[in-house]
């Protein structure tokens, strides 16, 4: 360990991360998904919402690599455009979750006492409620569309971030330099932002990547229940929802969007895993 002291912990983590080919592969795959989502209009061979009554539920062919759906739309194009909804849902809902959870965790860990007890109990209560029920209720309340699905997922994921942030805050707050900074008379908020926040970044980053993975699945689940993306715009979950009626007649409707979710989520999980190993070697 002493030999490595010359490099900064960040660079060290980076090196550890890059040393894991699987994690790097995940990162590349995410990059590809982002590119696909961003360049969807260029990459998709067809307009994802243009219907064709003469070509409904056609099996994969040279013209339509993934076949056509129940309205004669090109499944490949819909999977490509669906990447937008899923990536957005993953990233935005986790941003919301972190935006609520991290400050709350920071506050709970730093302030302690009653604030901590109250916040922790609230988190316990939220975690004791089935996650999907929270999300379903929220999505039903806000009205089903993609934005609200993201908010619903974000809010119901927030307690996890709060827990992670609180634990990391407690950990960091026990460090000598934090106590020293406090003793010198720095205002609490400055100590929190200056000294504690940097310390909770690694675990939150790890939690974040893994949470994106589950958020993508959650969005698919909500869409599967009809509480996500509004038609005719595609999302992988809503494609699966529509596919359910045609499992025997047109299995490709369910296979391809499902594969897309799987690969995308797997990539985030691989990266999250790699990050955890790289940033928090004690976990090993």
């Amino acid at each position: 360990m002493t030999a490595l002291r010359t490099s900064s912990p960040r660079r060290l983590a980076m090196r550890r991360f890059l040393g894991r080919p699987v994690a790097v592969a995940g990162l590349i795959a995410i990059g590809l998904f982002v590119v696909v989502a961003a360049l969807a209009p260029l990459l998709a061979p067809f307009d994802p919402i243009v219907t064709s009554w003469t070509a409904i539920r056609k099996a994969p062919s040279w013209a339509h690599w993934m076949g056509t759906d129940e309205n004669g739309r090109d499944v490949l194009s819909r999977v490509v455009f669906g990447a937008r909804a899923s990536m957005m849902a993953g990233v935005v809902s986790v941003a919301i979750a972190a935006g609520i959870g991290v400050p709350a965790g920071l506050l709970a860990g730093f302030a302690g006492g009653w604030t901590d007890t109250l916040l922790s109990r609230a988190v316990d209560a939220m975690l004791a409620c089935p996650f999907l029920i929270l999300a379903i209720a929220l999505a039903a309340f806000l009205g089903p569309n993609l934005t609200n699905a993201m908010i619903a997922i974000g809010v119901s994921t927030a307690p996890r971030f709060m827990r992670v942030a609180r634990a990391a805050t407690l950990d960091a707050a026990s460090n000598d330099y934090v106590e020293a900074a406090r003793a010198v008379g720095n205002p609490a908020w400055r100590v929190a932002v200056r000294h504690i926040l940097p310390n909770i970044v690694p675990p939150v980053l790890v939690q974040g990547t893994l949470a994106i993975a589950s958020a993508i699945i959650a969005e698919a689940s909500l869409s599967f229940l009809g509480l996500g993306q509004q038609p005719p715009d595609p999302s992988w979950g809503s494609m699966l929802n529509a596919a359910q009626r045609f499992l025997t007649q047109a299995p490709w409707l369910a296979v391809f969007p499902g594969m897309a979710i799987f690969l995308c989520v797997l990539s985030f999980n691989l990266v999250g895993d790699g990050l955890r190993d790289a940033l928090d070697p004690r976990q090993r």
């Binding site: 309205n71 509004q230 038609p231």
Partner: protein, 500 residues
């Protein structure tokens, strides 16, 4: 499967006279409360068909036939005399007589939160003439009353047991049907067993009936094919080909009584200010842009019937002159131009989020786009959509109705000023007048004439665009005999039998 067959074969050889036969029926949803006075759901009615006899029944031709009442006569337009079947007992042994009829109808009429009150609210008094005869006095002449008595409002209760059970009746319903209640596990099964004291016992060929909710169509079809279900109601049209290809299964299709349509919010709150809600021309354009046949072909494999009125082709009140198409895009565009509203015209549509409705909405969206309508689909779950409809929080609403035997049940509450399901707040004196008149007369030709006049006014205003009438598609094992396809979609257990 082979082992199962073997076991079945063993059973057959060992039990000769008293073989325990069970009929397993798949329902598309889990029914609500099993109390005919308080029940609301369509599937619930299917379970009641095995559990509770009614005063009258419907046959395949929608004619009213005797069940617990053997005959009726109108003493005058407001007085109905019922002659009751003798020797009928309820599941608990109580006798069915005039007192039971009076009790039951009064329970339907007076129980708090009764959903039957509006169906038979015209009843003023029920008088016992003798133990086998009742006289029903109406507040006003009401021709749809008899049809109501073929449904839940005509289901009879044993007075003592019902009184004792009070609001808990639905937990252990007691009626006089061919089967009696055994148990219910919500979302899983409802079990009935043969009622030995049934008055028409020779028509009952099963010892047990099990109803199982199966909302997922793939699962339903797979169960049917695997032989774990004997009969399934409301098979999806898109599954028909699969079932027909299976030699062990049969499909029975018959026109249903319901419809699917688009309700426009004419005057219910601020959302009714949308251009399409304010302009009959635009609504007519909207209709002209729809290709009902293509719609049914794409979404329902061509099995349902394109229809532009609330009345099913199965009904004698169906008016063939009301055109269901063809699509006339040129006319649609002309009407839009005539309205003077610049395109694209934004229209928002509330759609309950079942997959087939969502697809239907998508198809409509694509069709009307060509006429200059930018349809925004607002998928919401059913409960929210009902609330939005009641509160006027919609521009248009894609919704269906399961349908009733009498045309009044498909029209009055939707179209009459102040009707219970008139979410559009539609109001037209001519329509009201004709609906009221049709209620008061009982001659079929006269009623048809009144309805024809009503349709004329209705189609000019177009508060509701009807799209199609569904078809009752029942899938069952080839071994099942005696299934009768009555348009109301109920599964009558009398006469059903499982052969070899």
């Amino acid at each position: 499967m082979r082992r199962f067959l073997l076991a079945a074969a063993c059973l057959l050889t060992f039990s000769t006279a008293t073989q325990a036969q069970t009929l397993r029926i798949a329902l598309r949803e889990d029914p609500d409360i099993l109390d005919p006075t308080l029940a609301r759901s369509y599937v619930g009615r299917i379970v009641f068909a095995g559990l509770c006899d009614k005063l009258f029944d419907l046959n395949e031709k929608l004619e009213i036939v005797p069940q617990l009442a053997t005959a009726y006569e109108w003493a005058d337009a407001k007085t109905l005399i019922l002659h009751l079947r003798q020797g009928v007992v309820f599941h608990n042994g109580e006798k069915f007589d005039a007192a039971a009829v009076k009790f039951s109808l009064e329970r339907h009429l007076t129980m708090p939160a009764s959903f039957r009150r509006s169906e038979i609210g015209t009843i003023d008094q029920v008088e016992i003439v003798d133990s086998a005869t009742v006289r029903i006095v109406l507040k006003a002449a009401t021709s749809p009353l008899l049809a109501q008595l073929t449904d839940r409002a005509g289901m009879m209760y044993p007075p003592k047991a019902t009184e004792a059970a009070g609001k808990d009746f639905g937990q252990r319903p007691i009626c006089s049907g061919p089967f009696q209640f055994v148990e219910r596990v919500a979302q899983d099964r409802i079990v009935l067993e043969r009622f030995p004291g049934y008055w028409d016992a020779k028509a009952v060929h099963f010892d047990k009936v099990v109803y199982r909710p199966m909302p997922d169509s793939t699962v339903l079809t797979a169960n049917l094919r695997a032989g774990s279900i004997d009969l399934a109601e409301r098979v999806l049209p898109t599954d028909v080909a699969t079932i027909e290809a299976d030699a062990k299964l049969r499909i029975v299709s018959s026109p249903a009584l319901g419809y699917e349509g688009i309700t426009f919010n004419l005057a219910n709150g601020d959302r009714s200010k949308a251009p399409i809600d304010q302009s009959a021309l635009l609504r007519q354009a909207f209709e002209a842009a729809l290709d009902r046949k293509a719609l049914v072909d794409v979404v329902f494999a061509g099995k349902y019937q394109p229809n532009a009125q609330a009345i099913s082709p199965a009904s004698p009140y169906y008016i063939p002159d009301i055109p269901t198409g063809p699509r006339d895009l040129a006319r649609a565009k002309a009407l839009v131009r005539q309205s003077g509203i610049p395109t694209p015209i934004a229209v928002s549509m509330n759609v309950p989020n079942t997959p087939d409705r969502a697809q239907l909405a998508e198809v409509i969206q694509a069709m009307v786009r060509e006429a200059g309508f930018e349809l925004k689909i607002n998928l919401i779950e059913f409960a929210s959509s009902l609330q939005a409809a009641a509160q006027g929080n919609f521009e248009t609403y894609l919704i269906g109705w399961s349908g009733r035997a009498d045309p009044d049940g498909n029209l009055y509450s939707f179209m009459h000023t102040g009707g219970g399901q008139n979410d559009a707040h539609y109001s037209n004196p001519v329509v009201d007048d004709m609906l009221d008149r049709a209620r008061q007369i009982s001659d079929v030709a006269d009623r048809r004439a009144a309805y024809a006049k009503m349709w004329q006014a209705q189609r000019a205003d177009m508060p509701l665009i009807y799209l199609f009438s569904p078809v009752n598609i029942v899938g069952h094992t080839a071994k099942l005999t005696g299934f009768r396809a009555v348009p109301d979609g109920m599964i009558r257990l009398q006469g059903l039998a499982l052969g070899k």
